[in-house]
């Protein structure tokens, strides 16, 4: 029982990332009808927003402290981050410590902007082109974005730690009445899970309970009619693209403490996220979220020694295997609608 619970928990963090990326992909697909292969790159750019903010906060000036000497006997050079000089050492240190959560504030405008530019500058011209062309041009864009990031930040993973409070693990099982030291779980992953749940809830709430969301849903169902009713649906879809980009970016920001970001993390996630979208059902938002968590948890179960002992290598292929089985038995995915992407 504890073991099962632990595996479910272990699957949640990856599942959250899959769900968030797949949600953004589905939003873009459902509104604009575009298959966005650059979505993984957006996830990566979000992660690098966190890296950038961390670097900005750590920007320091050097003072020479005559009273101390380094091991060579020269006067000690002391690096003081600007934020510590401005806000005092304590507040400054905690700002640096909290740079990953604070990066959310940076990532939202940046990702919205990136999304707008991408949609207006490139994607707009591909509405009427075949899906293959959309895949190819966004694939090219993903390569370009990835290389730009690599040029500025290098090829190595950059460690971006979580705030001190959230570092380490907690004995999660005790809270739920299990024996101590059985279900131990890193705190940040729990934070990530809760964060992604709230993002998902926010997106669904936005679509469900606001007028804007209602119009967007109407546009997803029948774009032309909404247009005839005198609503500038294109503009709203552009905004939705920005929101989808922001969702991917936020998923990236918060993922950095779990896995140090590098320039190809987006591509690694993208392939899996596409599988997730297809399993969930192309164009179905709840399907994307459900499939994201489901596959994340399945992957974690397949990584147990028991499963690997049963079928060697199952942890490597489980997601693809599930995708193949689902696609062959339920062609529209778990929750796919009729008539989406069926030519």
């Amino acid at each position: 029982m504890e073991a099962i619970f632990l595996q479910i928990l272990n699957g949640l963090d990856k599942g959250s990332a899959y769900a968030l990326i797949a949600l953004g992909l589905t939003l873009i697909f459902g509104t604009l009808g575009v298959v966005n292969f650059a979505h993984g790159a957006l996830f990566m750019i979000g992660a690098f927003c966190a890296v950038t903010l961390q670097r900005i906060f750590n920007a320091s000036f050097t003072t020479i402290d005559e009273s101390r000497t380094d091991f060579l006997g020269n006067p000690m050079q002391v690096q003081t981050p600007y934020v510590e000089a401005w806000f005092g050492p304590e507040i400054g240190a905690s700002i640096i410590d909290w740079s990953v959560p604070l990066a959310i504030l940076l990532a939202i405008p940046v990702m919205l902007l990136v999304g707008f530019i991408m949609e207006r500058g490139l994607i707009k011209h591909f509405y009427k082109r075949p899906h293959a062309d959309q895949i190819l041009v966004t694939f090219g864009l993903a390569i370009v974005l990835q290389e730009v990031i690599k040029y500025f930040y290098g090829a190595n993973p950059i460690p971006t730690p979580a705030p001190d409070v959230f570092r380490g693990s907690m004995d999660f099982g005790v809270l739920l009445g299990f024996d101590p030291n059985v279900v131990i779980y890193p705190i940040w992953r729990l934070v990530y899970f809760i964060f992604s749940l709230s993002i998902i809830a926010a997106v669904f709430g936005f679509l469900q309970f606001t007028t804007f969301g209602m119009v967007v849903r109407a546009g997803m169902a029948d774009r032309e009619t909404v247009g005839i009713l005198g609503i500038d649906i294109d503009k709203r879809f552009t905004i939705m693209f920005g929101i989808a980009a922001a969702v991917a970016g936020l998923a990236g920001v918060m993922y950095t403490p779990i896995n140090p970001p590098n320039y190809h993390m987006g591509m690694d996630f993208l392939v899996l996220s596409f599988v997730v979208v297809v399993v969930g059902g192309m164009g179905s938002l709840p399907g994307a979220v459900l499939a994201g968590f489901l596959l994340g948890i399945l992957e974690s179960f397949a990584s147990t020694t028991w499963a690997i002992g049963l079928v060697p290598g199952i942890n490597q292929i489980i997601i693809y295997l599930v995708a193949i089985v689902v696609l062959l038995t339920r062609p529209r995915g778990l929750m796919g609608r009729k008539g989406v992407m069926e030519e």
Partner: protein
Amino acid sequence: MTDQTTHTPAGATTTRKTRETSGILGLKGRDITLMVIVLILTMAAPILLNPFPADSSLAQFNAGYPDLMQRFVIFGIFAIGFNILFGLTGYLSFGHAAFLGVGSYATVWMFKLLNYNILPGLVLSVIVAALFSVLIGYISLRRSGIYFSILTLAFAQMSFALAYSVLTPITNGETGLQVYTSDPQYLQSAGAPDMPHLFGVTMRATETIEIGAWSFTFNFGYYVCAIIMLAAFYMAIRIFRSPFGMMLRAVKSNQQRLNYTGVNPRPYTLAAFVISGMYAGLAGGLMASMDPLAGAERMQWTASGEVVLMTILGGAGTLIGPVLGAGLIKYFENIFSKINDGVLHQWFAFMPDGIEDLLVTIVHPFVGKGWHLTLGLMFMLVVIFLPGGLVEGGQRIATVFRRDRKATNVEDAAAKKRNAK
């Protein structure tokens, strides 16, 4: 068709026969020209690709060395095969690298078990890739569009993951499969070379000819690959022009209509899938023949993406496009990644210092390690402005010139008329 041949007198069959045998090797008109051009280009490649003298500063743009030329033709084969599937049927496979990898493994296994003669290896690589692609194609082709892409991607990633982990006894995991001295090599005779060879002539056998300042390298391995590529290209022309090729085009243009006319497109698409898988297997086998090593990374989806790039860049659905695309990408990969800041400074040395540094800074991100950026940009530009690839670009330029000529002809005629008056 069969009815006709049985009932009509001999005359009808003879006319058909003459129609079929007209032209060389069953090719006609423009195809012969195309084939001859490709033949000349590949055969003279060691000379054509070395236009700059060996010790000049432009020598780094030379591509006429064996390693690179082999890659040109091998990836050419890969892209030609991919084009038979994507270009004709429109099914975008993101998992073709799996067949390439399987082909490589098969060939290296032949080296390990028999001897270093490449022939059994190549034959086996094609057969294994065919079987593998029948399996994957049979399942994947039940879906079309993006679902097909995802299914092939899933299969390829699965093969990649398995080759890395569980199948280590067959694939030698991360180290990559290679031939060890302890391998049986049952057919290895005493005098035979212990590197890949074709009936005793090693793939590395190279003849260098120096003419003045130029030096040309003729490599046996390259010519083996080139001849195989020519055969593959010829096959592709025949497939493109055959009724089977017509069926594949019909699948691309309107599959629904095909269904309504009572034709089941699945066998045709499966055949195309298997053929392109065999091409990929052959390319993989040749890669292993040039360098007896096979690694799982050849199956990764980035490798599948590469062949998609090649085909699109050159022009999907055209005959010569994929070969051009493969050559271009491999050439740029090689040349661009060699250019460093020193070379750039040398180029822009004639500029004033400030501008020189500025230009070097601007160009720097696009060359050397950043050449993928150039590739991505190039690829995006092609997809945006030239969906038909370089071939379409060439055609557009050709039409512009032709229109000009026509226009001048008209003007000439008008002028003559005026003069006559």
